[in-house]
């Protein structure tokens, strides 16, 4: 165990945990805001119940998302101090702006939203949840601005041994950012939709006899969840495809690794469905190929060569002059990419078929088709896997760089933090996060067992003493 491997493991572990909850809460906040909007515009109490019921689950995931995120801002300095010195001039600004613009809005308005159901007019209360959602959506924008720079540096110069910002606007105009942001946000909202639909499916499977009010509640939740996940999965898939077109040009090494292309293809590139990359011999073994398909996937036509990793590696050796190989972990990228795509496609399919089954005209309502409910229920867990796989492609594909072409991972680590300290923090964070995740799942299960038609009252039945003087 070296400081480098431990620091890398910790970063991967904590960000993966963090990103279980981030899109979960971004997505559910957005949908809860839609539910409350429906309540305010239609005055249908069912929507209010929905906003409160699913809002509680949003709050639980938000709490864990916040605390797992705290670590992220600290660990750049703690574990990657040389990276922070090299990149601070550029990387710090989006982080500070994320706090100043997004976190303040998110945390202030979430407090207002939770505690003012009875205090303020419905319209104002609705404003609070939309502000919360706005805060969480923009926070993704800022952190992805920072990440996009690492993937594709723009608007900078190297001065005095560090990268300095010369054009802030260029950071925000980075095309990498808008592909990433679109893909992440659309999929986060899709995730919220499919989680609400999936958890509803679990309830329908468990409770055969529902009151009319609860039937209405679950039916509306199911339809809204599936509708949102259908719309946003289409968007997510489309942007994912656009992002790959962009990768071919900007990060050809990453792209070649996701498709197991070691040697540059002919003009009709075949697509490898499965295969094992041999990282020593730099070739693919046991592969099953479909002719022409990679050209079609890459360029949306039958002709088009894809540059192989061997050729790119030779180019990079010349270009960057470091005594390094530039192959990312090919098998990880190859299979992560396939898992991500499969999850996306499956969610699209489930949402589409599920939505058709919930139509009024449907011969047999969805609530009575147990196999269909099971499919939706199981899908609850898939976005977590898909998201992680997606980030694996993005981040493992950056190896050996932290900042593409500028700064390597080995140069980034804190030189003065000991193996013992790193091992301790790895264990502490792992144990803490695992405990939190298990508790969260348990509390969500408890929450789901509650009857949604018993109005979800806030904890304090009599919070304020109306005869008391005001504090200020």
């Amino acid at each position: 165990m070296t400081i480098l491997s431990l620091a890398r493991f910790q970063f991967a572990m904590t960000t993966v945990y963090h990103f279980f909850f981030v899109p979960f809460s971004i997505g559910t906040a957005f949908i809860v805001a839609i539910m409350e909007s429906m309540y305010v515009s239609t005055k249908d109490e069912t929507y209010k119940k929905m906003a409160k019921f699913w809002g509680n689950i949003f709050l639980l995931s938000f709490a864990v998302g916040v605390v797992t995120g705290l670590i992220q801002e600290f660990q750049f300095g703690m574990n990657w101090s040389d990276y922070s010195r090299f990149m601070g001039d550029i990387f710090g600004a989006p982080l500070a702006l994320e706090a100043l613009l997004s976190f303040f809005i998110e945390s202030t308005f979430i407090g207002l939203w939770v505690f003012t159901w009875k205090k303020v007019k419905p319209g104002l209360h609705l404003f609070f949840i939309w502000m919360t959602s706005f805060g969480s959506l923009t926070s993704a924008l800022w952190i992805l601005t920072a990440n996009s720079f690492m993937q594709h540096p723009v608007g900078y110069e190297i001065k005095g041994g560090r990268a300095v910002m010369v054009n802030f606007g260029a950071l925000l105009k980075n095309p990498q950012l808008w592909y990433e942001f679109g893909h992440v946000i659309l999929n986060a909202i899709m995730m919220g939709g499919i989680i609400i639909a999936g958890l509803t499916a679990f309830q329908l499977l468990k409770n055969q006899k529902l009151s009319e009010a609860n039937k209405k509640f679950y039916k509306k939740s199911m339809r809204l969840g599936l509708l949102v996940s259908l719309i946003f999965s289409i968007g997510g898939i489309a942007l994912g495809d656009a992002q790959m077109q962009y990768l071919i040009k900007e990060q050809p090494m990453k792209f070649a690794a996701t498709e197991d292309v070691f040697t540059t293809t002919g003009k009709h590139a075949p697509w490898t469905i499965v295969g094992i990359a041999d990282m020593k011999g730099h070739e693919v073994k046991g592969n099953i190929d479909i002719p022409y398909a990679l050209s079609i996937l890459s360029y949306h036509k039958t002709t088009g060569a894809v540059t192989g990793m061997n050729e790119l590696n030779a180019q990079y050796k010349k270009k960057y002059g470091k005594n390094l190989d530039y192959y990312p972990p090919v098998n990880t990228l190859f299979y992560s990419f396939r898992i991500m795509c499969a999850v996306g496609a499956w969610i699209f399919l489930v949402s589409l078929v599920g939505l058709i089954m919930t139509r009024e005209k449907s011969k047999k309502p969805l609530a009575q088709r147990r196999w269909a409910l099971w499919c939706i229920a199981i899908t609850t867990f898939l976005p977590f896997i898909g998201n992680t796989a997606g980030w694996f492609v993005t981040e493992f594909g950056r190896i050996p760089w932290t900042v593409y072409g500028l700064f390597t991972i080995a140069e980034s680590v804190s030189p003065n933090v000991s193996v013992g300290s790193l091992l301790t923090s790895n264990i502490v964070y792992f144990v803490l996060f695992t405990t939190l995740a298990i508790t969260l799942i348990w509390l969500i299960v408890l929450e789901l067992r509650k009857d949604p038609s018993e109005a979800i009252e806030p904890k304090f039945k009599k919070v304020l003493d109306p005869f008391d003087k005001e504090a200020f």
Binding site: V67, R85, A96, F104, V164, N416, V417, L436
Partner: protein, 338 residues
């Protein structure tokens, strides 16, 4: 040193001061959940006083960290890697208390107590170890020519830093007690007053010891004698004012005074540091200076414009939120039945 570098040094101080003023009482209330409340209703009552605001208050810390990264990356990198294990403990404290609010609300009765304790312990860990960190930082740390710490146990934990940690713990606790007196009614409020009456005497003793240790163990008196003495007097002065106003029943003034005590402590630290951001105990020439630690003028300009545009809004809706939640919290009349 340019104007913008000075401005951002001050702004980092303002953000930390804001953090201690606002989130300080959250830690105090968190600790009070296990030390002041006698039963579940009272615990709920206390948590309810900070329920809507604690999260936004904590963002001041996040913003201070982010702003330090953006404006003084060399300070951020050296400080955060140098205090690796201390920060890990602080993070663990922030994590367990951060989830405790939602978890205690949703947990069944048997497990609710776990999260009450998580809230109280986390709320004690954070100010104590932040005190250790900031005070050992002004004591000077073994920083090498590359800005890296090579510190041992006694660099982190010495008389000065431990007294500093305890003092900060006590200050946040009293700040929380004053907040409780301001925001509640009933037996909890009475008890908060009694606690304050007693604890301020301990605080004075702590402040005197801290002042003496600071004078003899740091170079503050050599570098900034006037500023140091003024701030030490202000710290004691605001403490006395807070206690007097508590007796007089002016809860708002008492609360603001205990907040200003914390602010004065931050100002003292930043005055003593100036023009350095980190003090090397190996050699003064390894100390990290404001002028060497900062980002470029361009980045500082971008950050200044962004802050000028955004901070007024932040302050406006923060004040609005406090206004909406201005009422006192009475003990819930009907205990929650699960």
């Amino acid at each position: 040193m340019s104007f913008l570098q000075l401005l951002w040094f001050v702004l980092i101080g303002v953000l930390f001061a804001g953090f201690f003023f606002l989130d300080g009482f959250d830690y105090g209330v968190g600790m009070a959940v296990e030390t002041l409340a006698h039963n579940e209703s009272e615990r709920d009552q206390l948590v309810r006083t900070i329920g809507p605001v604690w999260d936004a208050n904590e963002v001041w810390l996040i913003t201070a960290g982010g702003a330090m990264f953006a404006s003084f990356p060399y300070w951020y990198a050296s400080l955060f890697s140098g205090y690796y294990l201390i920060l890990m403990i602080i993070l663990a404290g922030l994590i367990i208390r951060g989830v405790s609010f939602e978890f205690r609300k949703n947990s069944p009765m048997s497990q609710k107590r776990i999260w009450d304790w998580a809230l109280a312990i986390g709320s004690a860990i954070v100010p104590f170890f932040l005190g250790i960190m900031f005070v050992s930082m002004i004591h000077g740390m073994p920083i090498d020519a590359n800005g890296n710490f090579h510190a041992g146990f006694f660099d982190y934990f010495n008389w000065l830093s431990v007294v500093g940690g305890i003092a900060l713990l006590l200050l946040t606790y009293l700040h929380g007690i004053n907040y409780i007196a301001l925001k509640t009614t009933g037996p909890v409020q009475e008890r908060a007053r009694n606690y304050a009456e007693f604890l301020y005497w301990i605080l004075y003793a702590g402040e005197v010891v801290f002042a003496l240790l600071l004078i003899f163990m740091t170079d503050f008196m050599a570098v900034h004698p006037v500023g140091t003495i003024i701030m030490l007097i202000l710290i004691v002065g605001f403490s006395v004012l807070a206690q007097v106003e508590t007796f007089a029943g002016h809860e708002l003034i008492a609360f603001i005074s205990s907040g200003l005590t914390l602010v004065s402590l931050v100002v003292l630290i930043f005055i003593g540091l100036f023009p350095r951001v980190l003090i090397s105990s190996i050699s003064p020439k390894y100390s990290i200076l404001i002028q060497n630690a900062s980002s470029t003028e361009y980045t500082l300009t971008v950050m200044t414009i962004a802050t000028c545009c955004l901070l007024p809004f932040v302050l406006a809706y923060t004040i609005w939120a406090y206004w909406i939640f201005r009422k006192r919290i009475a003990m819930p009349a009907i205990p929650e039945v699960k």
